[in-house]
């Protein structure tokens, strides 16, 4: 496994960082949470952040924490779908398609929520899950998987996730469309 500094990866995939933080901000605004500071991209660790108030509302907490995961994953699928056929299946050397594939993979790579986001969710979820809160029930396995994947970043789990979503997503879409 070769090592590339995180800052270089963030620079190469900066659209993903910007989309991730924008998604955080979007859900903070949606749930009317106070936002103290936002950094969409910087050469540092973390490459971007949104400092917001901690909400007592679990729904808000859930969406603010996992929102970027959903938004980045969906955008990864959309961009990769636009580029999947010429790049993978048709093997056409189209620069526009490659640009969109880079865009999609960059966004997909930054889908994982940070450990801090997940720890808030992880702390609040068990008690609410016992009371039958559906989001809390969903968030327990989701957080567990995402925590593991977060640790897997050292072995490129984030890139692996982007590639997987960027390939399997479009395949599923095209297969479904051709069966219609």
């Amino acid at each position: 496994m070769f090592f590339i500094p995180g800052q270089v990866i963030a620079l190469l995939t900066f659209p993903g960082v910007i989309v991730h933080e924008t998604a955080h901000l979007f859900f903070c605004k949606l749930f009317k949470l106070k936002v103290y500071n936002v950094c969409f991209f910087r050469f540092g660790n973390p490459a971007g952040y949104v400092i917001h108030e901690n909400s007592q509302n679990f729904t808000a907490q859930f969406f603010v924490s996992t929102g970027p995961f959903v938004v980045n994953t969906l955008l990864c699928v959309v961009f990769c779908t636009a580029a999947f056929l010429p790049v993978w299946e048709l093997q056409v050397n189209d620069p526009v398609a490659y640009f969109f594939y880079w865009m999609g993979l960059s966004i997909g790579m930054h889908a994982f929520p940070s450990k801090t986001d997940l720890s808030h969710l992880w702390k609040a979820a068990p008690a609410l899950a016992k009371q039958g809160n559906l989001l809390a029930i969903i968030s327990l396995p989701l957080s567990a998987i995402l925590v593991v994947l977060n640790y897997g970043r050292v072995i490129w789990a984030d890139l692996g996730y982007g590639v997987l979503v960027g390939i399997l997503g479009p395949i599923a879409i095209f297969r479904a469309l051709t069966r219609l």
Partner: protein, 356 residues
């Protein structure tokens, strides 16, 4: 920037660098010692960052002791308070997102031809998976118009073409892909097509050899063996069963087994009513007339010749071949002599024909 004094060492420091412990303000080094002392004397020892309520917690603007807006535990200036409560999306972000959306629309419009090619590829693939090779070919051919270098497209087209007996289309698909080169030649999809392709080519070689032998008298059995071998190698040629029967008819003719000749020709005519099968049946019936003298055979043979000419209408090549055959067949019926085409040519003409 407000300055505060450390309660221990009296050093003046910026308020944002100060700490608070039990109501007193300390600098970084002193707060640790103070916490230790508090712990030893049984007092609370929780250190907190000093919050200077006279400055904005975000931008450090001086707001005075009673100014600004209190949001939760922090005091902010009016501008920051508005921002914190509804953080605006920066202008560059809005423009970037709009540009991204436009790019996406452009990519989708630009990729329309790829979408159509891809859809055709998947439809073709599904039909190939169902074994509907001939139906898959039009979709796959459309894909190759846009993406001739697609490994999947070329291999699927070649597979569908080879399994439906269309060697020419398979050849075009394979040759059109980087001049016939495939990087991943160890893939099972490639090996499957490669095997089919080599079997089809060996079969074509054997059929060509059989065709040459067929033109020479006395090699009918050898020619039929080659055609049977070709059929075993590559059974996907269209009308392979008819071709096999035609060579077997040649063997029956050579062995003077005219009943078998008629039986095979009759079967082929029923399976595929065409000029060639009608001519074969006419030839077999003429042989039967020659050996039996039964005029029913002669009459049917003449009818089949007429039928053959009728079916060949518009096809100059077939009509020319039938003209040559009709002359020999008439000789067979009138003389009741059964001779091969070569013998006929030697006896009556120098030009060559094709039908038996």
């Amino acid at each position: 920037m407000n300055q505060v004094a450390c309660a221990d060492c009296s050093r003046s420091l910026a308020s944002k660098e100060a700490y608070e412990l039990n109501g007193k303000i300390y600098c970084g080094p002193c707060v640790q010692k103070a916490a230790q002392r508090a712990k030893e004397s049984g007092q609370p020892a929780a250190i907190a960052r000093y919050v200077d309520r006279s400055i904005c917690a975000r931008c450090s603007t001086n707001i005075g002791e009673n100014g600004g807006v209190e949001l939760g535990s922090v005091r902010l200036c009016a501008a920051c308070a508005t921002m914190v409560q509804d953080w605006p999306y920066p202008q560059w972000l809005k423009i970037s997102l709009a540009a991204l959306l436009l790019l996406l629309v452009f990519a989708l419009a630009h990729g329309r031809k790829y979408f159509e090619a891809g859809t055709n590829l998947y439809r073709g693939e599904q039909l190939v998976e169902k074994g509907q090779y001939q139906q898959a070919l039009p979709y796959l051919k459309e894909t190759l118009k846009i993406a001739p270098n697609s490994d999947k497209g070329a291999l699927l087209t070649a597979k569908a073409a080879l399994l439906s007996g269309d060697v020419l289309t398979a050849s075009r698909a394979l040759e059109g892909h980087n001049g016939g080169k495939f990087e991943k030649s160890d893939k099972p999809e490639f090996r499957e097509v490669d095997d089919l392709w080599s079997r089809a080519n060996r079969a074509i070689g054997e059929l060509e050899q059989a065709s040459k032998l067929e033109e020479q008298d006395g090699h009918e059995i050898e020619a039929a063996k080659l055609v049977h071998s070709a059929a075993a190698l590559y059974p996907h040629f269209p009308h392979m069963d008819i071709l096999l029967d035609q060579y077997d008819e040649g063997v029956a003719f050579a062995k003077k087994d005219y009943d078998a000749f008629v039986s095979l020709a009759e079967k082929d005519w029923n399976v595929m009513p065409a000029a060639t099968t009608a001519a074969s049946l006419a030839s077999a019936l003429a042989c039967k007339y020659a050996v039996t003298g039964d005029s029913a055979y002669r009459q049917r043979s003449e009818e089949m010749v007429a039928k053959s000419k009728e079916l060949a209408q518009g096809d100059k090549e077939s009509l020319a071949r039938l003209g040559e055959f009709e002359e020999r067949n008439r000789y067979r019926l009138e003389s009741r002599q059964i001779i091969t085409r070569n013998e006929f040519d030697r006896k009556f003409r120098s030009a060559k024909g094709t039908a038996q």
